[in-house]
Symmetry: C2
Subunit: 115 residues, 2 copies
DNA sequence: GGCTCATTCAACCTTTCGGTTGACGATTGC
DNA sequence: GCAATCGTCAACCGAAAGGTTGAATGAGCC
């Protein structure tokens, strides 16, 4: 039996890297060109390009070429699948926005300027 | 700048493996001994032991030795942290329990008896 | 004490991951 | 046309993941 392609694993794997989570947080603000995504990080453009590839294959972002610039855009629906899966474990309060803010702050503080 | 230990990455990394997600789903039903956790899978006991190690280091489960048996227990609070992080991307409807059930079914169907 | 069962440890292997560098194809601007 | 810019590709590297097997540890049973 063709065992139902595993869409969840690539999503979680993509989220497992702090650089990629930082990229997602940046894209939350606005669509960005690849070069601009790479700018805050200390690694090479090629490395960022690979990270974007991973995110795109997980369905977390999409990339659209306009002229010679490729624009990256957040695709939140993929995260929805993972989020729904996780809701099964423990009956959390639906959404705790204060906690979210704290986590995002920590992520953004440690993300771009620190490996 | 002490770069704030990254608690999120190990959690997502742990969730990125379908075997480990299947284990979590099993533990959702009840606490289990290591041997019993391993039973439905086709891999060696040592491999399962390593998976449990990964889950424990991510904080997703705890292990308690009683007699010569080690009991594994789900620790949903770790998932809460990750869940909260994810809520920031896209304003999903709080919780879609029907969708959750569908996902869990797919996971359980493809998980234990298929690599 | 000695056997058995539950679990981990240790060593090993292969594949994937995350990064580098340098060359390359497109696209734009002068 | 030519040069600079945007982004990816290809080859390479070291480290980590995910699995195996076999030996070791520890608790319980008789």
């Amino acid at each position: 039996m063709t065992p139902a392609p595993d869409r969840l694993s690539p999503i979680f794997a993509a989220l497992a890297d702090p650089t990629r989570r930082a990229i997602l947080a940046m894209l939350l603000e606005d669509d960005m060109a690849v070069t601009d995504v790479a700018e805050p990080f200390q690694m090479s453009l090629a490395a960022i390009s690979k990270h974007l590839q991973v995110l795109a294959e997980a369905g977390l972002i999409s990339r659209e070429k306009r002229g010679r610039v490729i624009w990256c855009k957040l695709e939140p629906d993929a995260l929805k699948a993972a989020s729904v899966w996780m809701q099964g474990f423990g009956q959390f309060e639906p959404v705790d926005l204060d906690a979210l803010e704290r986590f995002l702050e920590v992520e953004l503080a440690e993300g771009p300027e620190e490996a």
